[in-house]
Each structure stands twice: as C-alpha cells, then as structure tokens.
C-alpha cells in the first residue's frame, strides 16, 4: 500500500509530441500514457480526482492534425460511400479548436458545426478545447457530436501499427466510451459536404440548436443538429444529451424527407412539421439527472426538431 502511494506521488511523465509519428511512438512505448489535447475535459477530471494519469502524451503541438481542408472537391466519392461526397468532403483535424470552428471561412462550409462550437463553454474553453477531445471524451452532452452524427462522420484513428477509420456510430460505444484502442490517437474526422460550397441559399448548411438552463456557457440539456442533405435529398438529424450516445432518428428522417420539395424549398405543411417533431421526440431515450428530466428532454428535442425544420424549409 505504501509503495503504491509513493509510486503515485512520483512526478508525472509528460511528453510533448511534435509529430504524429512521435505521438504514436510515445503511446506505444508507455501503455499507461494518456493523450492530452486541449485539456478542457482532461484537467477537470484530474482536478476532481476522477482521473490520475501516470503519464501523458500532449498532442496540441502536432501540426499535422491541426486545421481543416477540402478533399475531393471535384465530386469524387472520397471514401464516404457511393452517394456521399457529391460536393466533396471536409477533413477536420483533431486539434481544431472550437474557436477555429467559428472562423468565417469554416462557417461558410459547415455552419451547423460552427453553431455547435459557439455553444461550448467560455471563450477560454473554446480557445483550448478541440473536436478531437469532444470525440475522445464521447460525453452524451458533447456539443459537436449531434452534427457529426447527422453527417455520418468518419473518425480517423492512428497508432504505431497504422491507421483506421470508424463510422461515428461505431466509434462511440456508450456514455464516455469509445472504440479507441490503447495506443491509438484520434487524428481527425471526415464529413461530406452536403451542398455546393458556393451555394447562395442556406439549404444544406444545417442547423444546430441546444437547450441549456443558462443562455451561454452551459452543458447541453438537449441538443439537435438538422442537416438537409441536397446530395442525397435527405434530412439528417443528430440528437445529443437524450441517450447514452448520439441518436439518429432515422424513422423521422425517412418519413419527412420525401415530403419535402428539394428544388423549390417550398413551405411545409404544419401537420407534417408536428408529426416530424413527435417522431424525433420518440427516437430519444433520455434520462432524469441533475440537469433536467427525461420528459423535458424528449419534449425539447421535439420542439427543436420542428423549429430546425421550419428554419430550413419555411412553414405555412
């Protein structure tokens, strides 16, 4: 017991990796090492003594996984499946911060992710926290996750042994649980661009809405992303904080999508809007906790679904 205590008190081993190869090597040589990115979740857990890392590999200086870039913009499949990627794909590096997601150039491509990023914490948190961290923590309340779920994002992983890609739904396996293996690092995420990058209207851009008990700097009580995908003419929805993992209300998506006029962006039948909201609410499986109640959360995603749909397609 005393030896354990003394061991626990020794100085923590911290390595600052400069390259992805170096980060993977450090993780491979020390199975106890944990990955530190922006630290906005990690350090809270340390401070609350829910995590006592023995070794750390810090990746925020790894430039290869910073920023974002367009891939296959000419219209290739881009690895996103046969229908996906009609307008190309977007690679987002794991080290991209919430603040960076709110820059105008990025917002023009994926405004729903920008909207989600703006709801995260305070400016200080948004300057430090990263999308890779949001994925790695895999909290049911992770704010970018509904957007990534709605877009069928692929999570890009790398270890000393090589690379792999996992669908988001395969990557997040439970509340704060992922398929990340020991020695693996999240390098980024790939999403399809669902509208032409020069589109003049905002269809396909998507909406992100989040309910919290405060008007800013609040953990999500319920969150919803709605992306009207021009490329496959489908409304895709991601729900956050209403289940153990991000939820896709696929029945609601399949029911509403054919009822929409994708060319005219015509007004919606209010009855259809109501039905859509109810179907989305039914897809949620929320819980009661200190932040809210299951009944309210289910109600809230229904309301948000209706509002997001009306914002995108208009209403009679």
């Amino acid at each position: 017991m005393l030896a354990e205590l003394a061991g626990a008190l020794r100085a923590m081993n911290v390595k600052v990796a400069r390259t992805l190869d170096e980060a993977c090597e450090r993780l491979a040589e020390n199975p106890e090492a944990e990955v530190l990115a922006g630290g906005t979740d990690f350090m809270v857990e340390v401070n609350y003594r829910h995590r006592s890392p023995k070794a750390v590999v810090a990746i925020s200086a790894v430039r290869e996984i910073a920023g974002w870039r367009l891939e296959n913009e000419s219209g290739g499949a881009g690895g996103m499946g046969a229908d996906a990627g009609r307008y190309g794909t977007l690679w987002i590096g794991a080290n991209m911060t919430y603040t960076e997601m709110a820059t105008p150039a990025f917002e023009g491509l994926l405004p729903s992710l920008t909207q989600a990023a703006r709801t995260v914490g305070s400016p200080q948190i948004r300057n430090a926290g990263t999308i890779g961290g949001n994925l790695g923590t895999a909290s049911p309340a992770g704010d970018t996750l509904p957007v990534l779920a709605a877009l069928d994002a692929e999570v890009l992983l790398r270890s000393a042994d090589g690379s792999r890609e996992l669908a988001l739904s395969d990557f997040i396996t439970g509340p704060k649980q992922t398929a990340l293996q020991q020695g693996e690092i999240i390098t980024g995420v790939r999403v399809p661009l669902v509208a032409p990058t020069d589109a003049s209207n905002d269809i396909g851009r998507g909406e992100f809405l989040k309910v919290g008990t405060r008007n800013a700097m609040v953990i999500s009580v319920a969150g919803l992303a709605l992306i009207a995908r021009h490329d496959i003419q489908r409304v895709c929805v991601g729900l956050g904080s209403v289940a153990a993992v991000p939820v896709r209300p696929t029945e609601a998506e399949e029911w509403i999508s054919p009822r929409l006029d994708w060319q005219q962006r015509s007004l919606l039948d209010p009855v259809d809007v109501e039905t859509f909201g109810e179907m989305v609410a039914q897809a949620a499986s929320p819980i009661d906790d200190h932040r809210s109640t299951a009944v309210y959360r289910r109600h809230a995603v229904g309301v948000m679904a209706k509002r997001a749909l009306v914002r995108t397609f208009g209403s009679n």
């Binding site: 008190l9 401070n47 709110a102 105008p104 405004p111 405060r214 008007n215 800013a216 809210s292 309301v303």
Partner: protein, 797 residues
C-alpha cells in the same frame, strides 16, 4: 449594462463622490494578492478528509497509513482539538472534527498537513474510516418530529409573531404555499488561508473572512488559548455574501500549524468549497392574506419552515428575519405568523445576502400579485394601497421612526418607461396579437438585434431566450413584466451588542485609519478614506492592516459596515479634529470651547472662519500626533417577547424592482430583459460603488429566480461545481436601470446613509418570478423556475 443614472466621473475623494477603489486597479490587473496566493518558506499544505455519507456513525478511524506516507507531517482527529471541540457563530454545536457521528455529506473528519498538496490529498485518501451509514433526515417537515439528530435537538428556533385582532377577516382571502431552493453564495475566491506558529506559543492566521474577531474567539476556544495568542490578519478576499461569516478552515489551519510548528496553507478546491460553507436556507412558506374589497390588508396568517441543515450557524437569526418581514413593507394590522427552522442532514445553512428576507419576499410579493388580481387592480396599485410609511407600526409592534419611502420608491419606479417592445410582436405590452406572425415564413421583423458573426441570426439572436443555443422561435416568445418590493433590517437585531471599533492617527497631514472591518469587496477601504478626508480635510489617508490588533468591527454583513464601521471611523476622525482644533485654539488665542465653531479643517489646512488664521495641517499638528480609538454603537435593540413583539431592529431599508422578461413558451427558456430599480439609500456615499452593489445584488436575485440551486438527493449534493451550479453569465444579466436612489437622510445614521448591499438581492427575485408568471399565465410557486416548469405546463398556451 446601461444605467439610467450615469456615475459621476469626478475623482474627488470625499463622501458623496465616486472615489476610486484603492484595490480596484490591482484586482483588474491581476496584481491583487488573494488569500489563495499566500506563501511562506517551508510551509506545509493542509487537506481535509470529509464524510462521503449524509449521516453515519463512525466506528473507527485508522490513520496509520496516512501518517506513514513520506512527506506527511500531521494527521489530526477530533481528540486532537486542544480546547473546545465544537464551534458555531451563535450557538456552538458543530464539531471541529467529527467524533462518533457525521451529520452531513462533506463534514470534516480528519485534517492532514504535508509538504505538497498532492501528498496531503493522497494521505487523506489513505485514512481508513469505518462508517456505519444511518438513515438521514433530509426533509424539514419530517425533522420536526423525527428522532433527534443532535443532542441539542432538531428545532433551532421557532417563534410566533402575533399581533392585533386574531378574529379579523376580510372580503378577500388569498393563500398560497411557496418554495425557495437552496442558493449558494458562489463567491469566486475559494476558502483559503495560512497559519503560522509564533514563538509565544500563539498563532497568526492570514485568512479571508467576514468577521476577524468572531473567528478569533472560536479559534481561541478550540485551541485553548487566550484570545490575544490568536492573531488574525485579513488576507485578500474574493467575495463573501455571507459564506465567510462562519468558520470553515480557520481552526483546522491553526491546529496544524501549532502541531507541526510550521506555516500551513490550505485552499479548498471548488467542489470542496460547496461543502465548506453554509448556504441560503431552502424555505417552504404558507401565507394567507385577509383583505378588504379594495385590497387593503386586514390580517396575515403564515407559517415559514426553513431547512437549517445539520448545524445551527446563524439559523436562529435568519428565521427571525424571515418571520419579522413575512408581510413585506405593508401595513398589516393583525397577524399570526409562525417561523420554524430545523436541523436536518442537509448541508448547513446560514448567512446569505438578504438573510431570511429573500425567502419571505418571494412569498409575500407573490401574495400581493394574487391580491391585485382578486381585487382587479394592477400590481403597482395594490402595493401603493398597502405601502408602509414613517410612523406606522410593523408586525413586531415597532414604530418606524426612521425613513421609509416605500410609496416614493413604487411611484418612481412605475413612472419609468418599459423597455422597447419586441419587434416581432411577442408579448403583451405593445398590444400586438399574441401569435406575432408577420408573414408566411414568419421572418419579417426578425432582422433586429442581429448578432455579429452568426449567419443564422435572421432566426434567433443571442438576446432571445436560449441565447447561444439558438433555440428561439420568435413567434413563441412572450414578454412579461413583474414587480417586487422588499424590506430588510439593517445591522444586528434582537438586543445583540453590536459595535465597531476604529482609530484615527493624525501625523502632520497624513491620517492613518485602523479598523478590523473585513473588506470583502463591498468597498469599505474606499469609504473609510472618503470619510477621513471629509472630516479632517486631509488628502492622504493610510489604511492600516485589517487585523485583530484593534477591537472588533463586527461582521461585514447585514448591510451594516457603512453605518457601523463608517460611524466608528467618522467619530474617531471627528474626535481627532476636535483635539486638533482645541490645540490650535489654545495656541492662537481662540476660545477653546468654541474651537469647532470658529475653526475648520478643509483642503489640508486649518482655518478660522473669519479668515484671519490659515495654516497647513502639518503646521497645525506639529510634533504632537493626535490619536483617537473608540467604539461606536447603534441605538440598542431588544429581544422579541413570546408574541414576537419588541423593538428588535435598528433601522429598515426598502427597494423596489420591476423585471421585464422574454419567455420561450415551448422550451421554458427565459431571458431577463431588464430589471429596473429604485432604492431607499438614506444618502449615497459613493455612487459608483452603490451602482456596483445594486447590479451585483440583482445578479444574485436573477440567479435564484431562474437558475441557481444546490441540488441534494438524500443529502447528497449533485451539482458541486460551476459546471452544474449555474450562476448568470453576462448573457443572462439583464439591462439594469437604476431609476432613482431616494435620498432621505436616516436619523442617527452617519451622514444619513443606510446600508445598501442586501435589498437588491431581496425584491429582484419576486419581480423576475412575477414577470415570468405574467408572460406564461402559470402559477410558478417555486424558485428557481426550471424550463420544465414552464414548457411542460404551458404546452397548450
């Protein structure tokens, strides 16, 4: 935040000006040393082991592994407390360290000192406590009849205020039961301090606290030392709001320092802080108003039940306040109101800004709105019809001999224009249709208040309910307006010997002021300089360290320090001036008895009023420094009798608030748009600081109205973090319109000034709640109002 009154820009430093704070620039620049910044060579770090159980017997405690941890210097338990093993501000009943039983989650069980904070934490983890969990009592009603949770019993205090004709009744009877959740003070600076052993076997403690001498007495008793061997100095305080009135880590720090003979520093982390201080009492209040057909109050019946948590703290004073002011600032010929505060196994509750008046105000103001509705008049009119005035008698039988401009406050506030209506037609005040739909897509008129950088702002803006979450559908937002009027007593009541001590030393043209008044952010350091300049005409005023080398100043609470310590500083300076002028009179052939009439101190000079004598202060004082130290007391108060009657209070202060809110009916999200206020202040001593107090108090009232609550389940805290204990951000704070500060000098008060810190937190709460009721049509008898309280009830609106 905009202000209706623009703070004067003048930097002139006397009373009545916005003198700059001496601690302001260092705080803004990050140069101010808070108590958590203390450091000493060779110091150890303290750590507290706390009970994970709500209630449990302690079978045994094994500290051997902790003691054997390298770097650990001390592990101390209940039996190591050298003197009195319990403490408490009014009634000692709380163990310094638990012995056989723990009575709330987070109760301290052991303390550790080690050479590194992490070592101390690990050592605390290594202490093995064998607990036998017991069934806790966490419901206040249940506690009244439950088995005793403590040898002192489960009822901290019960009192009844009975007055007038008990058989009286009226045409209108209004009743309701109201609940207030447990609020935390949420100060930014966690509990922290450092103790240093002294060569005389005494101890020095550098600490953030509200009342150095109350700490000193409790520490000395538990250390079994005379008071003068326990010397306290105020360290930089990061907010208080009542949470620093009780002892937290003071005794622990001194025990560890004396045991190890080394300096010991302790800093609670944020989670621990929520367990480490008292909170605002949760309350359940039933009131029944009997009134005439015009809505004039005939009689009020009531029962107030407060949950005091596991230990007494200031519960007995809090319930007295809540009960004394349960009728609000209104004429009430007859009443029978019972107040009870009980012991449970919840977190201990005690002082928080407003101190019982907050809970009462939420109840009585909601009753007034219901009364207005029953009578068919508006909320302003019902309050005017019942407003108390000077010369009236309050329910404790005490005549109001001071100022009470309640009518003026309400009238002034109601004359202030409402904020501009929503452009989309939501709400009632513009008479627009409640659907507010402008065109087929519901988008017209939505270009107002766009937020920079949000491309989707044609749909929603940061200023809508839901804020950054972009949830608003403007056709489903309703505006509401509500009023609240509150009353609070100033200073300590019920016969407490309430005083403050101050000294003034005049050396040449420099005055040195010493007072143990704890500067907790309220600005007494500024004010004491202003007072010295006003009285003595000096430019340079030095503030001596705030410590126990002078007598008590009492607590920085109860809106009392401007009056009490301000009064002590004023009197000390006046006596110094009198001595100086008498000396000058003798030296220059004036009649000594008339010195104050013939001579004056101003602008750094001593002058005769006839202009014949004019000399510098330095010259007048010469080599004979003048020193005065004195105690200042307010007029005595008296206990309440068995019917709750008596002149228990010194003075009263009043405020009125009007809140305007926007509510998202479907999601239950609230945006407080504006809080307008008028306040009874006696006299403004420093306008900028007055505005600061008012804005800060309203922030806490708004917080309790719509988000702030400590959530406990079976006594277990579920949100001990700023992630989940939510306080208003800048986006949640409304515009504050300080419509008027009514200056009617209070007889007997220094400069005629009343304390102003608490009223903004008292009646802003019911105003916001009333506004949400106005917007939604819902009863909402509980605060904080949660989104589900509106959304799930209002689905059909």
């Amino acid at each position: 935040m905009s202000q209706t009154l623009t703070p004067p820009r003048t930097q002139a430093p006397r009373v009545g000006t916005s003198a700059p704070r001496p601690d302001g620039v260092p705080k803004v620049r990050g140069m101010f040393a808070f108590s958590s910044d203390l450091w000493a060579d060779g110091m150890l770090w303290g750590q507290t082991l706390r009970s994970p159980h709500t209630r449990a017997n302690i079978r045994s405690i094994d500290i051997s592994a902790a003691l054997a941890t390298p770097g650990v210097a001390a592990v101390l338990l209940h039996d190591d407390v050298p003197g009195r093993k319990i403490f408490g501000l009014e009634h000692p009943d709380q163990p310094v360290l638990a012995k056989d039983e723990v009575r709330y989650q987070g109760e301290p069980v052991a303390i550790v000192a080690a050479d590194h904070p992490e070592t101390a934490r690990k050592a605390a983890d290594a202490i093995v406590v064998d607990y036998e969990p017991l069934t806790p009592v966490c419901d206040a009603e249940e506690a009244i009849t439950a088995d005793l949770l403590h040898p002192d019993g489960n009822i901290f205090r019960s009192l009844t205020i009975r007055r007038g004709d008990q058989a009286a009744t009226g045409e209108i009877v209004i009743e309701g039961t109201y609940e207030v959740g447990m609020q935390d003070q949420a100060f930014m600076g966690v509990e922290s301090g450092m103790a240093m052993p002294c060569e005389d076997e005494g101890v020095e403690l550098y600490i953030s606290t509200q009342w150095l001498h109350a700490d000193q007495q409790q520490i000395a008793a538990s250390l079994d030392l005379p008071d003068d061997k326990v010397r306290l100095t105020l360290a930089g305080v990061g907010g208080a709001f009542g949470a620093r009135e009780d002892v937290s880590l003071q005794i622990h720090l001194c025990m560890l320092a004396l045991y190890t003979r080394r300096p010991v520093k302790m800093v609670y982390n944020r989670e621990e802080s929520f367990y480490g201080h008292v909170h605002r009492h949760p309350a359940k209040i039933w009131l029944r108003h009997h009134a005439t057909a015009r809505g004039e109050i005939v009689k009020i019946e009531g029962r107030l039940l407060l949950d005091g948590g596991a230990y007494a703290s200031t519960s007995s004073a809090v319930i007295a306040n809540a009960t004394c002011f349960a009728n609000g600032p209104y004429k009430t010929p007859s009443c029978e109101i019972e107040g009870i505060v009980v012991r449970t196994n919840n977190l201990p509750c005690g002082a928080m800004r407003g101190f019982g008046a907050v809970q009462a105000c939420f109840a009585h103001e909601t009753q007034m709105d219901k009364l207005a509705a029953a009578v068919g008049c508006d909320p302003v009119e019902i309050r005017l019809r019942n407003a108390i005035a000077p010369g009236d008698t309050i329910i404790t039988g005490q005549e109001i001999t001071g100022t009470a401009p309640v009518r003026e406050l309400i009238e002034s506030l109601s004359r202030h224009p409402l904020p501009p209506p929503r452009q989309d037609g939501g709400g009632r005040q513009d008479g627009g249709d409640r659907q507010g739909r402008q065109d087929g897509r519901g988008r017209a008129g939505r270009q107002d208040r766009q937020d920079e950088g949000d491309s989707a702002s044609q749909h929603t803006s940061m200023a809508d309910p839901g804020g950054a979450g972009r949830t608003a559908d403007r056709s489903r937002i309703r505006r509401g307006v509500g009023y609240g009027v509150g009353v609070k007593n100033l200073m300590f009541s019920e016969g407490f010997d309430d005083y403050s001590t101050a000294s003034c030393l005049l050396e040449g043209d420099v005055a040195t002021i010493k007072c143990a008044c704890a500067e907790v952010g309220q600005g007494f350091v500024t004010l004491s300089q202003q007072i010295a300049r006003e009285v003595l005409g000096v430019e340079e005023v030095v503030l001596a360290p705030i410590d126990t080398q002078i007598g008590s100043a009492g607590s920085s609470s109860a809106s009392r320090q401007s009056w009490m310590s301000g009064g002590a500083v004023m009197r000390a300076c006046e006596e110094v001036r009198a001595k100086l002028l008498a000396k000058v009179a003798v030296e220059h052939g004036f009649a000594q008895d008339d010195a104050e009439d013939l001579l004056e101190c101003a602008d750094g000079r001593v002058r005769s009023k006839d202009g014949l004598l004019d000399m510098s202060l330095e010259e007048a004082v010469g080599d004979e420094n003048i020193f005065v130290e004195l105690e200042y007391r307010h007029t005595p108060t008296f206990p309440l009798d068995e019917n709750g009657q008596g002149n228990a209070h010194v003075a009263f202060i009043y405020a009125a608030h009007r809140a305007t809110v926007d509510v998202d009916l479907d999601l239950g999200l609230i945006r407080v748009v504006e809080v307008a206020t008028t306040q009874d202040v006696g006299k403004v001593l420093n306008p900028l600081q007055a505005y600061g107090q008012i804005e800060g108090g309203i922030a806490q009232g708004v917080g309790l109205a719509v988000m702030e609550e400590m959530l406990l389940t079976d006594g277990q805290v579920r949100n001990a973090s700023f992630t989940d204990y939510l306080i208003p951000t800048a986006l949640d704070m409304p515009e504050i319109a300080i419509v008027e500060l009514i200056e009617q000098p209070e007889p007997g008060a220094p400069f005629g000034a009343k304390g102003i810190g608490e009223p903004p937190a008292v009646s802003s709460l019911p105003a916001v709640a009333a506004a949400v009721r106005d917007a939604t049509g819902l009863d909402l008898p509980r605060v904080p109002i949660r989104p589900q309280d509106i959304a799930l009830a209002a689905e059909k609106l």
